[in-house]
Symmetry: C2
Subunit: 151 residues, 2 copies
Amino acid sequence: MRIGELAERAGTTTRTLRYYESRGLLTVARDAQGYRTFGEDDLRVLRQIRALRENGFELEETRPFVECLRAGHPEGDSCPDSLEVYRRKLAELDACIAELRSVREEVGARLARAEVEATAGSPHGPEPRCELAPPNPVPDTRQEPEGDTMP
Amino acid sequence: MRIGELAERAGTTTRTLRYYESRGLLTVARDAQGYRTFGEDDLRVLRQIRALRENGFELEETRPFVECLRAGHPEGDSCPDSLEVYRRKLAELDACIAELRSVREEVGARLARAEVEATAGSPHGPEPRCELAPPNPVPDTRQEPEGDTMP
DNA sequence: CTATGGATTGACGCTGACGTCAACGCAACA
DNA sequence: TGTTGCGTTGACGTCAGCGTCAATCCATAG
């Protein structure tokens, strides 16, 4: 199987696969023409990666799962490192949910307070979008002393 | 008041203020030396912006609040456009929280399932971080038909 | 006179996960 | 002999919100 077929079967693009390879997540063999050659195991690895990505895991966080699969285990989460990633993600999710709820309450309160002074307008279609957790962690380059609202 | 003082009083940097100006959020007068000159109203505008940003509002979403303040209203959320932003943000937050909870359940279930097969390891310090909502909406360049898991 | 401190503009860097060219090679089909 | 159609590498673009120089100017303190 070559890169185009694999991409299609995995529901992604060739660019993505080459990117994964550049990150060391895909080990690639070449044929006589210099074309990348993949097998069914690579497809399994890819599906694992995509499944995790869709749940908001960073690419780097999928590495233990990939290595676990490549070590011959039937599932990517059969290894302790993968479980550790699960646990970290759960903690992240819990923290994120708590934070979002607190923000939600504050915004809700502000809206309610502001709506009292003036007659409100007409409801209107919203277009919500959401971020799972990791991508673009809002550059926290500045060192924060201790307890800070995390944006 | 010049830019350095305003930055310090608002708890931000001069770079940030110049950036806001470039986005049209700050209207700036210049003195004889070409230095930017600010007043107390600019400080109020800035505080409004920073407060919203800390709650996960995009810079662009603060614009109605800024314009509301500049229109002479005592609060940035005294105008209908600002309220509309509040409502949109509430919808976003609700959608995001729901999504995160569903992911949390799935990851939790996967962890539980995987923990059954092997004796688990030692708990270990997590380092959670969180995203409020808008920044970096995970490039949805591909057109999705309808119901998709939003990553 | 010069050092210092703050101001100015402009331009590049950074993060993640790719998208999007460009310029090319290689094979099969007409 | 084209011409598709796949593959290759390399490099730049994207999104937000700034950080980080660099070179220069201005005024005040010593």
